[in-house]
């Protein structure tokens, strides 16, 4: 479907390196991508349109006397790359000196198997439409009251190349199949909450549009006859999507070494100390091919690894790229991230919360009074950890029994306090895009109506 010659991209990258050095840069890094995405969009209960997209581009980081410049263009032709090189160098020359500005040296990279499914090469727009229709029909077939507001089935192939003037020269192919579905259920004048379900895999055979669509349909139909309840203080049972909405961002923010160094992280002085209950173990693992952020090396060409971030409640390490590692006199953890349009940032790769020992059913039985939160719509401040927002797809639990769906309930609290108040973590884990998450129970949470 796309005859991409990796050698051509590599040659372009190598000659860009040489040209950059010739123009006076001390160090040069070239990050180039070529991709092909086929996407079918669902809108208002039918497949609306299909899109074929072939992004390509190059991002250039240059260092001039420890000053950094960056420019990117969305083509791979020599004229454009020449323009980007010139722009990056001009920026570097007027930038501020920073002695920690260096590029990483080459290290041995263990190539990850299983992140490229060659079926992607023959995946057509008709295939995308078929999968999108399957997803749509599953949701609509589940119950006639289900309305699919929008949805996507997408198949992407990505080739990326990273080269730097210290000798790193790496490339990797990956494929990603993903689907998402969003909508509500309607009966007369009663409209349920929105629900969104999404999933993504590296291999086509692993993607289950039926399960995703069924889960979505079950959630929206389930909350159709929601009732109001009183405000109270009790337990919140976080479903994986709600954990993503409430907990993931402040947690990843706080272990990001950049935020630690700029004194924005609550965990700045907490290494080796307790930041969560003993039920909480958090792992960043780019080597886990079941999740879609798996890769052999990061955005700077540093090999990826499995990083245990929080072990049984104790903060073990921060996530670094080369710059923050230089500043902390540490080793990069392989977490340089970002597209061709930005110099390397830091992010978690695959975000995993380890499973607990109790099964979901027993967990619910243990809850005296609480609300199951399927989705959270609100604001979370990663600096102070305060969150406040609306419970979506909520169910009231009383004395270990699920009573009824609830509506118009707000939930508020502090994430960092919540981490310490985790009382139960389920055995079951659900894979949501780049995360693998169990159900989590947090006690002492305020619900307002």
């Amino acid at each position: 479907m796309m005859d991409i010659d990796i050698d051509t991209i590599l040659n372009t990258a190598e000659s860009t390196l040489r040209e950059g050095l010739r123009m006076g840069a001390d160090e040069v890094e070239v990050y180039a991508i070529r991709a092909r995405d086929v996407t079918a969009f669902v809108e208002n209960n039918s497949v609306k349109h299909v899109k074929i997209h072939e992004p390509r581009g190059v991002g250039l980081r240059v260092l001039y006397r420890k000053r950094m410049g960056f420019a990117s263009v969305n083509t791979l032709d020599n004229g454009s790359i020449g323009y980007a090189l010139d722009t990056a160098l001009k920026i570097a020359k007027v930038s501020v000196y920073d002695r920690y500005n260096t590029l990483p040296d080459p290290r041995h990279v263990d190539t990850l198997e299983g992140i490229y499914d060659d079926i992607i090469e023959s995946f057509s727009v008709d295939d995308a439409v078929r999968y999108a229709n399957d997803m749509l029909n599953t949701a609509r077939g589940y119950d006639s009251r289900v309305t699919v507001d929008s949805g996507v089935f997408s198949a992407s192939m990505l080739i990326h190349v990273i080269c730097n003037s210290r000798g790193i020269s790496l490339h990797e192919r990956m494929s990603i199949f993903s689907c998402s579905i969003m909508g509500m259920a309607r009966e007369g004048n009663s409209v349920s909450n929105f629900d969104v379900q999404s999933t993504a895999t590296h291999r086509l055979k692993d993607i289950d549009v039926h399960r995703t669509a069924s889960r979505f349909a079950e959630n929206v139909v389930g909350t159709l006859d929601s009732k109001a309840c009183e405000g109270f203080k009790g337990s919140m049972v976080l479903a994986p999507n709600a954990t993503l909405d409430i907990i993931k961002e402040p947690l990843v923010f706080s272990v990001n070494a950049h935020n630690v160094q700029r004194n924005a992280s609550r965990f700045s002085k907490m290494l080796g100390r307790e930041v969560g209950s003993s039920d909480l173990t958090v792992i960043d693992d780019a080597r886990l091919i079941e999740c879609i952020n798996a890769s052999s090396f990061d955005r700077e060409g540093v090999p990826t690894r499995r990083n245990v971030v929080i072990d049984k409640g104790t903060l073990k390490q921060f996530l670094h790229n080369s710059y923050t590692a230089n500043r902390s006199n540490a080793e990069s953890t392989g977490n340089a991230s970002g597209s061709v349009n930005t110099p390397p940032l830091i992010d978690a790769t695959n975000f995993i919360i380890s499973p607990g020992s109790i099964c979901y059913e027993d967990m619910i039985k243990e809850v005296k009074r609480g609300i199951i939160i399927n989705r959270f719509s609100g604001n979370v401040n990663p600096v102070d950890g305060n969150f406040s927002g609306v419970v979506k797809g909520g169910y009231l639990i009383e004395r270990g029994e699920v009573k009824h769906p609830v509506r118009e309930v707000m939930v508020a609290g502090n994430v960092f306090d919540a981490l310490k108040s985790i009382s139960m973590v389920s055995k079951e884990q659900v894979s949501v895009m780049d995360s693998l998450l169990p159900y989590i129970v947090v006690d002492g949470v305020s619900f307002t109506v």
């Binding site: 299909v50 454009s80 323009y83």
Partner: protein
């Protein structure tokens, strides 16, 4: 690619290849330059320049849309992109996909429109300004342990040609500046932000407040918030500042009246000409910067080449109009509104808002506060979201307690929520002092989009999500 293409080139292309098998062909060249300077705690975090340019082609063929895009601009690449778009529309012909019955007639734009004068500013000067502003925030107090600031400008050049007559060139510039201060004491840490995003030139950005004043203001806000309590959760009277009113207009009603959303069953379905708000409420979405200047969502022409017009969504409490693309306008037998927008060349146009606001009335803020026995004054917009059932939420950076007609202590920011109709009908006072104030934000609906919103101070009843 650097030099781009001309209007004549794309017109020639559409004339040559718009075959009889396609009902409609739309070719859109979009060159975007994004420049950004960011400093964090005395360090240059990044200075970058992104060039993203290409052509997106959309065809309506056999009653189905097809879209494809390319960043190589020679005739052969454009032709193969057109064929890909055709292929995409053909793929739908054999499925159960809903047919596009037609496109409404529209005022199609012809000519050249600029809403800024592109002057190149020395990157050195911007680096200095951003660096000094960040430093200024930390100079305010020893407890400001960290700060960051960034300047970003998006400069667009677009050419849109459609097979039924649009032929327009657009030049646009949207700069923004944001500074965030983080105050720390003991184990407590809070952040506060000040910023502005506009349509216009660099010089327009600091007309009302200098970068240093914004930095000091962010630092002072963070210091005040350091000791603030979290408000009690309750359903009560709230007074919203212009930024919060902008978010209310955007989240509580704007999304619900996007015609694609109406078609898939939003609560606004079947509600045209019904009373949805108190009679002092007139709510508008406009492509121009009405009432005050430089609103960030300003566009004279949308990405279907249609002139934007001012849409009175709610007039004196009555729901009057939805927001349309040409396709949805045809379905609803309405006049297109110019709300079809695409973020970049490789995005297809979707129905999106522009500048969404509630018209000012005759109150003053003081009068409004005096009449409140107990409630909150909410300031500074954060995230917001709307749900199909009319339940919406959005966040405030600061909440001031109001007791006995007086503004009392500052409390931490919270989210508020409500049901659209309940909240809009509870509005009982709107002040005079109009302002756009959500121009640094982006609205997300598959694609990000620069929008703006505003209003004057407004009083209503909503649920405050506290502890």
């Amino acid at each position: 690619m650097i030099d781009g293409v001309s209007l004549e080139y794309l017109k020639g292309f559409v004339d040559k290849y718009n075959s009889s098998s396609s009902r409609y062909t739309e070719v859109r060249y979009h060159k975007r330059i994004l420049n950004e300077v960011r400093f964090t705690k005395g360090k240059q975090e990044r200075v970058r320049s992104i060039l993203k340019a290409g052509v997106g082609i959309r065809v309506l063929s056999n009653s189905h849309w097809g879209f494809s895009s390319t960043s190589t601009l020679d005739e052969e690449s454009l032709y193969s992109t057109l064929r890909n778009a055709k292929k995409a529309s053909d793929a739908l012909s054999y499925s159960s996909a809903r047919k596009v019955e037609g496109l409404a007639d529209a005022r199609l734009a012809v000519g050249r429109f600029e809403n800024c004068s592109i002057k190149s500013i020395d990157v050195r000067d911007i680096i200095e300004m951003v660096r000094d502003a960040e430093k200024e925030a930390r100079r305010v107090d020893i407890r400001i342990k960290s700060a960051s600031s960034f300047y970003r400008e998006i400069i667009d050049r677009k050419i849109i040609v459609t097979s039924d007559g649009a032929a327009v060139e657009l030049v646009d510039s949207k700069p923004e500046f944001v500074v965030t201060a983080i105050a720390s004491q003991g184990n407590r840490k809070v952040s506060a932000t000040e910023g502005i995003g506009i349509t216009g030139n660099y010089d327009d950005l600091f007309k009302e407040m200098s970068a240093y004043d914004m930095a000091r203001s962010a630092a002072e806000k963070a210091l005040k918030l350091l000791d603030a309590r979290i408000p009690k959760g309750e359903r009560t009277t709230v007074i919203l500042d212009p930024a919060m009113v902008g978010l209310l207009a955007h989240e509580a009603i704007g999304h619900l009246v996007e015609a694609d959303f109406v078609l898939s069953g939003s609560i606004a379905k079947d509600m045209l000409n019904s009373v949805v708000a108190s009679d002092i409420v007139t709510l508008v979405d406009s492509g121009s910067s009405d009432i005050a200047g430089n609103a960030a969502g300003t566009i004279p022409v949308d990405d279907e080449g249609v002139f934007t017009r001012r849409v009175k969504i709610i007039e004196s409490g009555v729901l009057k109009e939805y927001l349309h693309s040409r396709e949805s306008a045809y379905i609803f037998n309405a006049e297109p509104t110019g709300n079809a927008r695409a973020f970049e060349y490789d995005d297809e146009p979707l129905i999106r808002m522009r500048n969404t606001y509630i018209e000012p009335r005759d109150y003053t803020l003081d009068e409004m506060v005096k009449e409140v026995k107990h409630g909150y004054l909410l300031k500074g917009a954060r995230n917001g979201q709307a749900d199909a059932n009319g339940e919406f939420m959005f966040g405030a950076q600061e909440a001031y307690l109001i007791e006995g007609g007086e503004v009392r202590e500052l409390l931490k920011g919270v989210s508020i929520s409500g049901i659209t109709m309940d909240v809009l009908k509870s509005i009982d006072a709107i002040s005079r002092d109009f302002k756009y104030d959500i121009g640094t934000g982006y609205c997300g609906k598959y694609q990000p989009m620069k929008v703006d919103g505003g209003g004057a101070y407004l009083r209503c009843i909503a649920t405050v999500g506290g502890v």
